[in-house]
């Protein structure tokens, strides 16, 4: 599979991510907080969200540069030996992007409504260490051992229209968001088992497979040596006609004290049904290659081609049946604490599971009000409870116009291909009708006091 293909799969589209909005937690009164938890939002009566963009890249186990050499005469090479030395048991590359075209938020008393539209892409490639070892060393070192080599793939893009509601009752805020989804393209491996065994007898290749590649719209999968990308499959003309999906986001916050707000949210609870330009390729059962039977060539003049026999051992069976993919469900736990009128502190724990990989992201946040119109922030945390992150953020408010930029791992952004994590989000909104004074955020209450 070409690297360009992988890059395309992960970068062409624009999903809600689990880390890149964390810094908005501390941005009081900001409409964008709604992305972390639908129970959060703006106290203003009418807000117009203008395009906002976010991208999240996470590499677990290996970074890109752990797999490739430095440029040699302008060319980089895959270096599987280096990759094997650096690999963890499970290695993954995850990217999601989200472009929200626009949104409207309005509030009537204790009840708020919001609606908007976005385009999302999310994808993950999982490579087991056994597979990298096989690519690096060949199968000779593993004769007599069973390797788990099935790569896991999950990559999809979809359009989205949502409508959300939020209600406040005493110290509680409840929020829900219903999302109508329209899949654009998908490739996924709901089953990804390939147990690979080299028999010590005469090195017969034996496999126990249950490997299913589903794709819609874009990917043409013929066999392991013939995978191509069909751009014609991407179409925006089938909205609400094909690849229909539905998802819910639910959230609640509790104002524990005047200084402390706690929140929990369950996001991306839903699925997309894929029914356009379909392909299901299944390799299943006990398969392998035991060697050529000379008797097959008695009285037969055709050439003996060992490579062909080896390439065909996966015996993919092709069908074109509709299928569905669940969105990777995510959970956010948040805490916001108003240390002073100038400074907010926060804590966010993101957890999600994407194609057999558990993603966790722990973030400690700080936001400082430099002036009334400029707030700056920083965050430190850990991705996968292992890789450190350091982020910066800024919020600029000029009159009724507000903009923000969050880089949740600034160090990673300077060297993406060496980094385990890069998150970035930016957006803006215009407040058309201001809030009434009775709706105050925590630090404002402190200020008033």
């Amino acid at each position: 599979m070409k690297f360009r293909l992988v890059v395309c799969l992960f970068l062409i589209g624009l999903g809600s991510a689990y880390g890149q909005y964390n810094s908005t937690l501390l941005m009081n009164n900001s409409y964008q907080r709604n992305t972390i938890n639908p129970a959060m939002g703006s106290p203003d009566r009418l807000v117009l969200g203008i395009p906002q963009y976010s991208i999240n890249y996470t590499a677990g186990g290996l970074t890109v540069n752990d797999m490739v050499t430095s440029e040699i005469d302008g060319i980089r090479y895959f270096d599987f030996d280096k990759a094997y030395q650096n690999a963890g048991d499970k290695n993954f590359f995850y990217v999601d992007q989200r472009l929200e075209y626009g949104s409207i938020h309005f509030r009537m008393g204790n009840f708020s409504l919001s609606t908007g539209a976005s385009f999302n892409t999310q994808g993950q490639l999982r490579l087991n260490k056994d597979l990298i070892g096989l690519l690096a060393n060949g199968n000779t070192p593993y004769v007599g051992k069973t390797l788990d080599i099935g790569p896991g793939i999950f990559a999809q893009s979809f359009n989205e229209i949502y409508i959300g509601g939020r209600i406040e009752h005493k110290n509680w805020k409840f929020g829900a968001r219903a999302r109508i989804l329209n899949g654009v393209q998908d490739i996924s491996t709901p089953e990804s088992q390939i147990k690979f065994y080299t028999n010590p007898d005469i090195y017969q290749i034996e496999m126990e497979n249950n490997y299913l590649v589903n794709s819609s719209a874009t990917l043409q999968f013929n066999d392991l040596t013939d995978i191509s990308y069909d751009w014609k499959g991407i179409s925006f003309n089938n909205f609400l006609k094909n690849n229909f999906g539905f998802a819910l986001d639910l959230g609640v916050t509790y104002q524990f004290s005047k200084k402390l707000e706690l929140g929990i949210a369950l996001l991306d609870w839903g699925k997309i049904g894929w029914d356009r330009r379909l392909s299901n390729d299944l390799s299943q059962g006990n398969l392998g290659f035991a060697g050529l039977n000379l008797l097959d060539y008695v009285g037969n003049t055709e050439d003996v081609v060992l490579e062909d026999s080896i390439y065909q051992i996966f015996e993919f069976q092709k069908t074109k049946n509709p299928y569905s993919t669940k969105l990777p469900i995510r959970m956010n736990l948040t805490a916001k604490y108003a240390l002073s009128t100038k400074m907010n502190l926060g804590f966010v724990l993101n957890y999600s599971k994407y194609e057999k990989i558990n993603h966790s992201y722990l973030d400690f946040l700080m936001l400082y009000k430099l002036t009334k119109w400029l707030h700056i922030g920083a965050n430190v945390g850990m991705m996968q409870m292992k890789n450190p992150i350091f982020g910066i953020s800024g919020r600029l408010m000029i009159g009724r116009i507000e903009g923000y930029l969050c880089i949740d791992n600034a160090l990673g952004l300077t060297n993406v291909f060496n980094s385990h994590s890069v998150q970035l989000s930016a957006g803006a909104n215009v407040t058309l009708m201001r809030k009434k004074n009775k709706y105050m955020e925590v630090d404002e209450l402190i200020e008033l006091k």
């Binding site: 797999m67 017969q204 050529l292 008797l295 009285g299 910066i392 993406v416 970035l424």
Partner: protein, 508 residues
């Protein structure tokens, strides 16, 4: 303080801006990685075969095997069946002309083949018409009968026609289908009787009357068919066993050539062999000598009461009646034959012979080599074109060969790598690989099997020779001598497991 503060803000802007720009630029500057020269070790299976005589015969289109009740095997090399059916012996008889019926009671002579004396013929696909005219002007009533043409109920042919005569007009009747009628000719003639009268009953003479048919075809003919010859096409049988013979030989205990005949024709048939030659691998051609070639083989045939049945004759040219025992033990590669069948070879008149349309005469000829044999250092060799140049990424190889032999045959295998001028550059192993045979029990059947395993190293020098070679010469020597001096049966439950794997060092 204010300046410092402003400076801090500007710094923040710059850092953020540069970080974003730098992050984006990385994608533009990052070239697609390519596959680097790599070194790794591959272990692959190459050959994994359980060789059994039955399975070899199933795959080999040139021979079949017959398993005898005791499990011993006979290899049969044969050709497709040669078949002559009734239509080639007694084809439809074309009748290009009309037959005039000159008198009211008249015999029409039909030109049946002179050698045939037909007593009965059952028509099929045959139609008959009459053409007639009369000098009388007016309506003429015509009746035509034939005592020679009788239906299954014994009714003679009897048809009426009406002629609207103008005094000379020649009118053709509608065709009459004779299916279901039989012809009983008088010698070679058909007997016709006609009557004609006007509407008052006054008898009239027809000025012209003709019988007309395009052809006569019978589905069953009885009579005597005379002495005549019908050819059976010649052909040859290839015996692939010795195609790649180099030296040594195989001695078969009871080789033979089989001639099998199925005959549905009701008359005596005898073979007339014009060619029966055996070609040896050295180019020698020797004719089979036998009294049955000189005198012919009489094939059985059904009697008149057995019409519709087939009689089978199996004849064998063997050591007892010919020289095939010697010839088939001299590395035969081809048997060429050409023969005819002689009907009524002694020309003894018998009117109770028959030919049925569904009958045929078929001949199958085969060379039978019972696998009860002695193999004396039989060496076979073959050369294959093989271009290894595209495998230059292989730096070393170790082959693993596993053999399990149940055959009572000792085998030596050697493989040579040749250049374009057939010069030997190297060999697979230093010494030929020697696979012994298991021991025999008192009945001459092998006990257990012989296991062989070996690792064959291909280091750099050998790999270099391999890459330069253009051909592979495989040489195999078989021998039963080390096992027994007597001929040995090859049984259908003997197997040879041949397994080959390789460990490759790849650097590309």
């Amino acid at each position: 303080m204010t300046m410092k503060y402003q400076g801090f803000k500007v710094s923040v802007y710059l850092i953020v801006t540069m970080a974003v720009i730098s992050g984006c630029n990385q994608f533009d500057n990052y070239s697609d990685p390519q596959f680097e020269k790599q070194s790794f070790d591959l272990s692959l299976p190459i050959i994994n075969s359980k060789i059994n005589i039955n399975e070899v015969a199933e795959k080999d289109q040139t021979s079949t095997l017959r398993i005898e009740p005791d499990g011993s095997i006979t290899a049969i090399y044969s050709n497709e069946l040669i078949r002559d059916n009734a239509s080639s012996l007694f084809p439809p008889l074309p009748i290009p002309q009309e037959f005039p019926i000159l008198e009211k009671d008249f015999l029409v002579n039909v030109p049946f083949p002179s050698k045939y004396d037909i007593k009965r013929g059952d028509f099929i696909n045959t139609e008959m018409q009459f053409r007639y005219s009369c000098d009388y002007v007016g309506k003429v009533f015509i009746n035509i009968q034939s005592p020679s043409i009788v239906d299954a109920q014994g009714q003679e042919f009897d048809q009426n026609y009406i002629l609207n005569s103008t005094g000379g007009n020649l009118v053709t009747s509608s065709p009459f289908n004779l299916d279901g009628y039989s012809l009983y000719p008088i010698d070679t003639s058909i007997h016709f009787i006609y009557n004609a009268h006007d509407d008052t009953g006054q008898e009239l003479d027809l000025s012209r009357l003709y019988m007309k048919t395009d052809y006569i075809e019978f589905k069953y003919v009885e009579g005597y068919f005379g002495k005549h010859r019908f050819p059976i096409n010649g052909d040859f049988i290839t015996i692939g066993l010795f195609t790649n013979w180099i030296s040594g030989g195989i001695y078969f205990e009871e080789p033979r050539i089989h001639v099998g005949v199925d005959n549905g024709f009701g008359f005596p048939v005898r073979s007339e062999v014009s060619v029966l030659d055996i070609h040896a691998s050295n180019g020698d051609v020797t004719s089979v000598q036998s009294q049955y070639i000189d005198e012919g083989i009489n094939f059985d045939y059904p009697s008149l009461e057995e019409a519709g049945q087939f009689k089978r004759t199996d004849f064998y040219f063997n050591s007892g009646n010919s020289n095939v025992g010697v010839l088939l033990n001299d590395r035969p590669v081809r048997v060429v034959y050409d023969m005819s069948a002689l009907a009524n070879p002694d020309d003894i008149y018998n009117p109770a012979e028959f030919i049925d349309k569904n009958s045929y005469f078929s001949v199958d000829i085969g060379v039978e080599l019972p696998l009860y044999l002695k193999v004396n250092d039989l060496v076979l060799a073959d050369t294959f074109d093989f271009d290894f140049t595209s495998y230059d990424y292989i730096k070393s190889a170790t082959f693993k060969l596993l053999v399990n032999n149940e055959f009572p045959v000792e085998t030596e295998i050697q493989t040579y790598f040749l250049d374009e001028n057939d010069k030997i550059l190297d060999s697979l192993a230093i010494d030929p690989i020697q696979i012994e045979a298991p021991p025999l029990d008192v009945q001459g059947k092998t006990i257990g099997s012989y296991d062989y395993s070996n690792f064959i190293e291909f280091e750099k020098g050998k790999i270099d020779h391999l890459l330069k070679s253009k051909k592979v010469l495989a040489k195999v020597k078989f021998s039963t001598n080390p096992v027994s001096d007597e001929a040995l049966y090859i049984y259908d439950d003997y197997n040879l497991d041949l397994k080959l794997g390789v460990e490759l060092r790849i650097e590309n």
